[in-house]
């Protein structure tokens, strides 16, 4: 190949050893983006996809039209949930490092999204989460011990040992089963929302994917169907700047904001400060309201940062500056809400530390309890026979004979 390549290669602004550089992020000051009526025509609200909806300013003061004016108790509760998410993640990460669960993924730095949106949606609304929405499960009532039991694949595991750790689901909490296959939940949410509309109900659906996952076919399928049938659904793109080792530009994010991805289909997009619980709450209420009134889908891009490694199998120091998160201009969502509450006189460092201790104890207690239902090495163990259940509602006979064969082999090496 004699000539020089003319292919454009997207590159992150910083690699290991470089100064972190977030100059590529278009930021609007808090309060700067107008809040339209939910009845606004799509073409009149395109500006929402390029601005950045923010409520908390640099000084942690809430301002502007998107300020939801939540009362302090609500915000304290929100802070509690975010903290719980973080404390839980930290503990589970350690537990994985100790070899006591096989895998883990944390939501470090992205906690505001699950919690704010959990608060903004109604219980009857159905959530189709990604693997970084553990906060949503917590907020929707899943007990920590149940989440831990799932991670342990033990006798109380809601998945009966069938899924990797963190692949929760909650029937009663209306949170769908997490899939290892990226973005597949997106069309499910749209189909669920279509069914809700067909049934004349006013429950809506919401789903979450990462920036990287927008390149999958199912992202397109979901947007297309949502637009055509005006499905009552909120489609969230959590742009945490990274997809394993690939920065968001590898999914085209450096050409235009992900919030704009639906514009060509007439789907309004909102770009929001994903580390600002008030802003996320507010845009979600807006989008939910719009959907419930028959206004159709909204795409929300949450600008945030993946504070930790992709998963326990990952080592981000190989591909990004170690201190990148510290330079992220939108900060830490917990820190920001905490300071806001302190500024307003509804919180203090002491209370915060006490809360962290309390939650740490809560998580520890849950872990103690969870282990009673079995660990990877100590019983009680799930009965291996159950691995043949639930493949079908009405199973073929061959599964029955395979079950018997498996037991024979487990019991006596199959000698009978």
């Amino acid at each position: 190949m004699a000539n020089k390549s003319r292919l454009h290669i997207p590159r992150p602004t910083a690699r290991p050893g470089d100064e972190p550089d977030f100059s590529y992020l278009d930021l609007s000051p808090a309060g700067a983006v107008d809040k339209p009526s939910v009845a606004a025509r799509v073409r009149d609200i395109e500006y929402l996809s390029s601005g950045l909806v923010r409520v908390l300013d640099e000084d942690h003061t809430a301002k502007g039209p998107w300020n939801p004016d939540l009362d302090p108790e609500k915000l304290q509760i929100a802070l509690r949930w975010m903290l719980l998410n973080r404390v839980f993640d930290k503990r589970m990460w350690q537990i994985q490092r100790q070899g006591r669960i096989s895998f883990y993924m944390e939501a470090l730095g992205e906690e505001a999204i699950s919690i704010a949106q959990g608060m903004a949606l109604r219980h009857g609304d159905m959530c189709f989460p990604s693997y970084r929405n553990q906060g949503l499960f917590m907020y929707r009532g899943m007990k920590l011990v149940d989440m831990m039991c799932q991670c342990l694949s033990n006798t109380r595991d809601m998945c009966k040992g069938r899924q990797l750790p963190i692949m929760y689901h909650s029937k009663s909490g209306n949170v769908f089963s997490i899939s290892g296959n990226l973005a597949t939940q997106y069309p499910h949410a749209v189909g669920w929302a279509m069914a809700s509309a067909i049934k004349g109900e006013d429950n809506i659906a919401a789903s979450w994917v990462g920036d990287g996952s927008t390149a999958e076919a199912d992202f397109h399928h979901a947007l297309t169907f949502a637009a055509i049938y005006q499905a009552p659904v909120i489609l969230n793109v959590v742009n945490n700047q990274w997809a394993i080792s690939s920065f968001q530009g590898t999914a085209g994010g450096d050409r235009r904001a992900f919030a704009a991805r639906g514009l060509g289909l007439g789907i309004p997009g909102i770009r929001v400060d994903g580390n600002d619980l008030l802003a996320v709450y507010s845009v979600t209420v807006w989008a939910a309201d719009r959907a419930r009134r028959g206004g159709g889908p909204t795409l929300i891009e949450h600008v945030t940062y993946r504070g930790g490694a992709h998963s326990t199998s990952d080592d981000p120091s190989k591909y990004r500056p170690k201190d990148e998160w510290e330079h992220f201009p939108l900060g830490d969502p917990i820190e920001r809400l905490k300071q806001h509450l302190i500024n307003e006189g509804h919180w203090s460092d002491a209370k915060h530390d006490a809360l962290v201790d309390e939650l740490t104890d809560e998580v520890l207690a849950a872990w103690k309890e969870a282990q009673k239902y079995g660990t990877m090495n100590e019983g009680p163990f799930l009965n291996p026979e159950t691995m043949f259940d639930d493949v079908y509602a009405d199973p073929p006979r061959r599964l029955e004979s395979q079950r018997r064969r498996m037991l024979e082999i487990e019991q006596n090496g199959g000698e009978q």
């Binding site: 069938r162 597949t184 069309p187 499910h188 279509m194 067909i198 397109h220 169907f225 006979r397």
Partner: protein, 339 residues
């Protein structure tokens, strides 16, 4: 009882279930106002409305993906994929989601989607309107795979599929939509009117999923097949003058091993036939099972007649299609093998 061809029977199955159960919805390309390119949904939108018989965009992945979500929300979606050759863009949603949802959520979530799709050749459709991909579905745990060979079974099995809480991929051999086909393209087309399985009850009934049918009893040889080739097998056995027992598998997964095994134990010889490509096809599983279950009864190796291991060529449709000639040759081979 009424006379129905396979299209009418399939339509009737949807009509009957939609009528009984408001949660049944139909979606697919051109299925609504137009009634489907093969007319299988003709009239359903007029009867049940645009909200239950939904014209979908050209997005097989989206059709199946959204159908799954609808199923999770309590509907019973019947999705049409216009040709089985076009099911692949929806393959990930079928394999990774539809098939595994119940399992991975330990039964808490499931989606009772039925996917109907016309398959098979013999209609001059060339390589992209003739495929028989059933073999790649039967390998996937968590879904059921069905292929009827006549109007009566088509309706009864489709109702069973729609009513089943398990996902079903329902293949419709389009060559026999309008009449049975004995594999000889030079003979005039026959209609279902003269066939006993063209007699179809107007109302609700089911043909249980998981049962094969002995189409014709015999003692010299068992021919195990399904879809269009059931008719070819019957005709070929006659031409070959062999007293063959012909079995229509119908339900490819779950498979009725008992009926198959009993028959081959009785006859001692077995020919397996399908239209799909031979290598790695569904017939391989049938052969593997039969040789295992009937080892001491077999007087000849289990043999297969199948589509060649090439795409389905437009000009050589009748050299590709395992028609009467090839079936007769297959029967002779099995019969001539010294016991």
């Amino acid at each position: 009882m009424a006379q129905m061809n396979m299209i009418e029977a399939i339509r009737s199955a949807m009509d009957v279930t939609m009528n009984r159960d408001p949660s049944v919805v139909v979606l697919g390309q051109d299925v609504g106002y137009f009634g489907g390119v093969f007319r299988c949904t003709d009239g359903l939108q007029r009867k049940y409305g645009e909200h239950r018989v939904i014209d979908a965009p050209i997005s097989e992945g989206g059709i199946i993906g959204t159908a799954i979500g609808m199923g999770v929300n309590g509907l019973r979606p019947v999705a049409e994929i216009q040709f089985a050759d076009y099911i692949y863009p929806g393959f990930d949603q079928i394999v990774s989601e539809l098939a595994k949802l119940r399992y991975r959520s330990a039964g808490d979530f499931f989606s009772p989607v039925t996917i109907r799709t016309p398959c098979g050749g013999g209609i001059r459709g060339g390589q992209t309107h003739s495929q028989s991909p059933e073999g790649i579905f039967t390998h996937v745990s968590g879904i059921k795979t069905i292929m009827p060979s006549n109007p009566y079974d088509a309706k009864g099995l489709l109702i069973a599929a729609i009513e089943s809480d398990d996902p079903v991929v329902f293949f419709e051999p389009k060559r026999i939509y309008n009449g049975p086909f004995d594999g000889d393209p030079d003979r005039p087309a026959v209609s279902w009117a003269s066939h006993p399985k063209g007699e179809v009850p107007e109302g609700h009934y089911t043909v249980p999923i998981g049962l094969a049918e002995v189409v014709q009893p015999g003692s010299a040889l068992t021919i195990i097949t399904y879809g269009t080739l059931v008719h070819v097998a019957v005709a070929a056995a006659k031409t070959a003058g062999v007293d063959a027992e012909v079995i229509d598998v119908r339900s490819l997964s779950p498979l009725d091993e008992t009926t198959l095994t009993d028959s081959v134990k009785k006859t001692g010889r077995c020919l397996i036939a399908h239209e799909a490509t031979r290598f790695g096809g569904y017939g391989a599983e049938l052969a593997a099972i039969i040789q295992k279950n009937c080892f001491y009864h077999l007087e000849a190796p289990v043999s297969r007649v199948a589509g060649w291991d090439t795409p389905y060529p437009h000009a050589f449709e009748w050299q590709y299609f395992p028609g009467k000639k090839r079936m007769v040759a297959g029967i002779r081979r099995v019969m001539e093998t010294a016991a």
